[in-house]
């Protein structure tokens, strides 16, 4: 996938930001014209309960496993089953504090963090996010209400979700540090819905998110929803996180050998 590496493609005078909202949709971010996007969506195999985490085009992730500069591929869609949560899902519920002794930059501990994702949800959530004896989730999309990720600045929160197999979160709104951490790490793609889809979708529904059209399709209910454009965080996400973005824009030198 060719990516325009010219620094003029994303100029610093229109700096990316970590805003969750783009108050004027008419000014929403459009990908720079030189970014090539795939014209054909790849096919994906039918999902079964044993299937690996759901399909999506690879998002570059600044995970512990990556030592080289992530390839800057362009994400156009997510597809998979959703797990629905409510408002104010705080970082203690996403990854309880007792697991914070795990260091996300260590590969084995990164995986362990993933296995504890959303384990802090109260017993009112009848369906487990990760099955007993599993370390990955079968839900690659999390749908939430307001103020998702509130509470602590712990980066372990988006990391745990990403390590568990979550590709994207669609929430009504985000707490800022969580949103920022999601963008900086590239672990999960943080999207905002226009309406409270957490009240219209159910855990297990089959979902497709089409980024270019800012659309979420619930195949199970047959409904479609508009999503808010990612806004100025787009270039950072597309680049693969804050480091990749800073390299691409010449803010820091290329990866040390």
């Amino acid at each position: 996938m060719a990516v325009c590496r010219s620094t003029t493609a994303i100029s610093l005078s229109r700096n990316p930001n970590f805003s969750t909202t783009n108050p004027k949709p008419s000014l929403s971010f459009l990908p720079p014209p030189c970014l090539k996007l795939p014209s054909i969506l790849p096919s994906f195999k039918p999902l079964t309960s044993q299937s690996p985490p759901d399909q999506r085009l690879s998002i570059p992730r600044a995970t512990a496993a990556d030592s080289a500069t992530p390839t800057t591929t362009s994400t156009t869609f997510f597809h998979g089953h959703c797990y629905v949560v409510g408002d104010n899902i705080d970082t203690d519920q996403i990854i309880p504090a007792e697991y914070l002794t795990l260091v996300p930059s260590k590969p084995d501990e990164y995986e362990k963090l993933g296995s504890y994702a959303l384990i802090g949800l109260p017993a009112t959530y009848k369906t487990r996010f990760i099955e007993a004896n599993q370390t990955k989730t079968k839900y690659s999309i999390v749908i939430g209400g307001e103020n998702f990720g509130c509470g602590s600045s712990r980066e372990h929160a988006p990391v745990a979700l990403g390590a568990a197999g979550v590709a994207a979160v669609v929430a009504e709104s985000y707490a800022r540090i969580f949103f920022r951490n999601s963008v900086a790490t590239g672990e999960i793609y943080p999207l905002e819905s226009e309406v409270r889809i957490c009240e219209e979708c159910k855990t297990g529904d089959l979902i497709t998110i089409e980024l270019m059209e800012s659309k979420l399709i619930n195949h199970t209910s047959g409904k479609e929803y508009k999503l808010k454009p990612i806004g100025d965080a787009g270039p950072v996400i597309e680049a693969g996180g804050i480091f990749a973005y800073a390299r691409m824009t010449g803010m820091i030198p290329s990866q040390a050998p």
Partner: protein
């Protein structure tokens, strides 16, 4: 509560409404009739937001909490590009936070919504997020890379210290190795876990240690890998929490890309009643605006009440800015600040202040008459609704809530003055506590104060003596402790589903360890009063 819900709906509704209509609401005064209010346009000089549209009425019920007079001036939310006034004059007034951003990004002026690379004055990290940040720093800048400035990185182990958990202990070792490699100037190390005093450098809770060691200075940019880094707002600086990846970036470059937040102004006037503390003030505010009411915004505190607060009380106030979703808080530096800093730092600093004519650049202004407020708790309601710092109630309304324990500690409520406040209530009562009462001083200095400083009106007794006479647990080693649960063997961790009144900052499900546990956030006065009765108790039972 009702008001906060309506305010939430109102603020959400604002997003949907045509911005042109909203722009006329610049600096309007809303009088609080019971059912609805009409927004009136206040007279201003050349406002950046003047428009010819007529005002739109919005319904917001009057604040139903006591008789607190609340005037809310609503303004149009700031856009990324601020339109100049029709006269063509360029607006130059900036808020305190904007000025800090301008200086830190070396720009003459900027506006909310601008994204700028700021120079960081201090980066703080601790044992929870330090190892991950270090890992990212090494991965991205190379295993032999050096931090941008060995004197501007402050590393403070404080969270999971006094535990047998091997990973927790290892994380402190990782910090030590890094500090040795990098020759980090400020590393408050601990090796002997059995006796914290045997460690010459160990301090304790990072946010309190930062202040006590003189790392907080007006006008500066302080970033920390902890959401309560906003505590340092008490010093008139920009201070906010960041994650490991951002911290790794700062370690290598000394810069970070930040977006300039608009500022909400909270004006608190009136003499502080002797049963209220700063904790009550911030619980009031969070209850008014909700846990997302200040998301992406700066919270500036002003007014005669704020000016009368000590530095530690200002720290308590600013500590919970994050609980309202705030990006940062700020208390303008004054003589109280300068006096506090006199013996703590020799590094020159330059305070900045919001422009006098910057009234129109505050997004929203809230006013509180403090004399009308009462002690509050943030309620913990399990199952049906949500444990949340914005679920606020009057302490006296909760007097039938039986409790199992009281916890005094954390960056929010574990400072010397917090313990003094607890001692004052015990002294006034003269009896023993009815429930286990855990005391965890935030830092070694606080711990020392408990054993050395005389409590006013006690005839020379120290806090520790008063606590002992009241039947509390012995003050523990300074650390964050059970505020966020921690490893299973953490002192005072909630390992069963019990009800706790706590001077800490969060009460989401499982916060102190057990998912079904209930945590009532309260001021030190309220916590002490509750310990004495075994129920949630308004401190006026003992203080008046």
């Amino acid at each position: 509560m009702l008001t906060s819900r309506y305010l939430q709906v109102y603020l959400l509704a604002m997003k949907q409404v045509d911005k042109d209509i909203l722009s006329v609401m610049a600096s309007s005064i809303i009088s609080p009739p019971s059912a609805s209010f009409i927004v009136k346009k206040k007279e201003l000089g050349s406002s950046a937001f003047s428009s010819s549209s007529s005002p739109s009425p919005f319904s917001v019920p009057k604040c139903n909490k006591s008789a607190a007079k609340k005037i809310v001036s609503a303004m149009a939310p700031q856009q990324a590009e601020r339109m100049p006034a029709t006269t063509g004059s360029v607006k130059t007034a900036m808020t305190l936070t904007e000025k800090i951003f301008a200086r830190a990004s070396e720009k003459p002026r900027l506006s909310p919504g601008d994204n700028v690379w700021v120079n960081v004055d201090t980066l703080m990290t601790h044992d929870i997020s330090g190892p991950g940040s270090i890992g990212i720093f090494k991965r991205e800048f190379g295993p032999d890379a050096k931090v941008w400035d060995r004197e501007k990185v402050v590393i403070i182990p404080d969270h999971y210290i006094f535990t047998a958990d091997k990973l927790a202990n290892r994380n402190v070792d990782i910090l030590r190795d890094f500090c040795n490699d990098q020759n980090i100037k400020y590393f408050y190390d601990i090796k002997d876990l059995g006796n914290f005093k045997a460690n010459p450098d160990y301090k304790g809770v990072c946010h309190v240690a930062l202040a006590q060691e003189g790392h907080c200075r007006p006008g500066e940019v302080l970033l920390g890998t902890d959401s309560h880094t906003c505590t340092a707002a008490a010093f008139g600086q920009f201070a906010t929490g960041i994650g490991n990846t951002d911290a790794g970036f700062v370690l290598g470059t000394g810069k970070l890309l930040l977006k300039v937040p608009p500022t909400l102004k909270f004006i608190m006037d009136g003499e502080m009643p002797d049963y209220l503390l700063a904790k009550d003030l911030i619980l009031q505010i969070i209850g008014e605006i909700s846990v997302a009411g200040a998301t992406y915004k700066s919270m500036e505190f002003a007014g005669t009440t704020v000016e009368s607060l000590t530095m530690e009380e200002r720290m308590t106030l600013c500590n919970m800015v994050i609980e309202a979703g705030g990006k940062n808080g700020v208390v303008p530096a004054d003589s109280t600040t300068f006096k506090y800093l006199e013996d703590k730092t020799t590094i020159p600093y330059e305070p900045v202040y919001s422009d006098a004519q910057a009234r129109q650049v505050f997004l929203t202004e809230y006013r509180f008459d403090i004399t009308k407020l009462e002690p509050l708790v943030a309620k913990s309601i399990y199952l049906c609704s949500l444990n949340s710092p914005d679920n606020r109630a009057l302490a006296r309304e909760c007097k039938d809530v039986k409790i199992d324990r009281v916890y005094i500690g954390s960056c929010t409520g574990g400072k010397t003055e917090d313990f003094m406040a607890v001692a004052k209530v015990f002294l006034a009562c003269g009896k023993k506590v009815k429930v286990p009462t855990f005391l965890v001083p935030a830092t070694r200095k606080v711990w020392m104060d408990l054993y050395t400083l005389p409590v006013p009106g006690s005839g020379g007794k120290t806090c520790s003596q008063i606590f002992e006479e009241a039947g509390c647990d012995t003050p523990a080693s300074p650390t964050c402790g059970a505020c966020m649960g921690g490893p299973r063997d953490t002192y005072a961790r909630m390992n069963k589903a019990v009800v706790c009144v706590s001077t800490t900052n969060r009460n989401f499900p499982g916060r102190m360890g057990h998912k079904e546990g209930q945590v009532y956030l309260a001021s030190p006065y309220t916590a002490a009063a509750s310990a004495l009765t075994g129920f949630v108790t308004d401190p006026r039972e003992f203080l008046q």
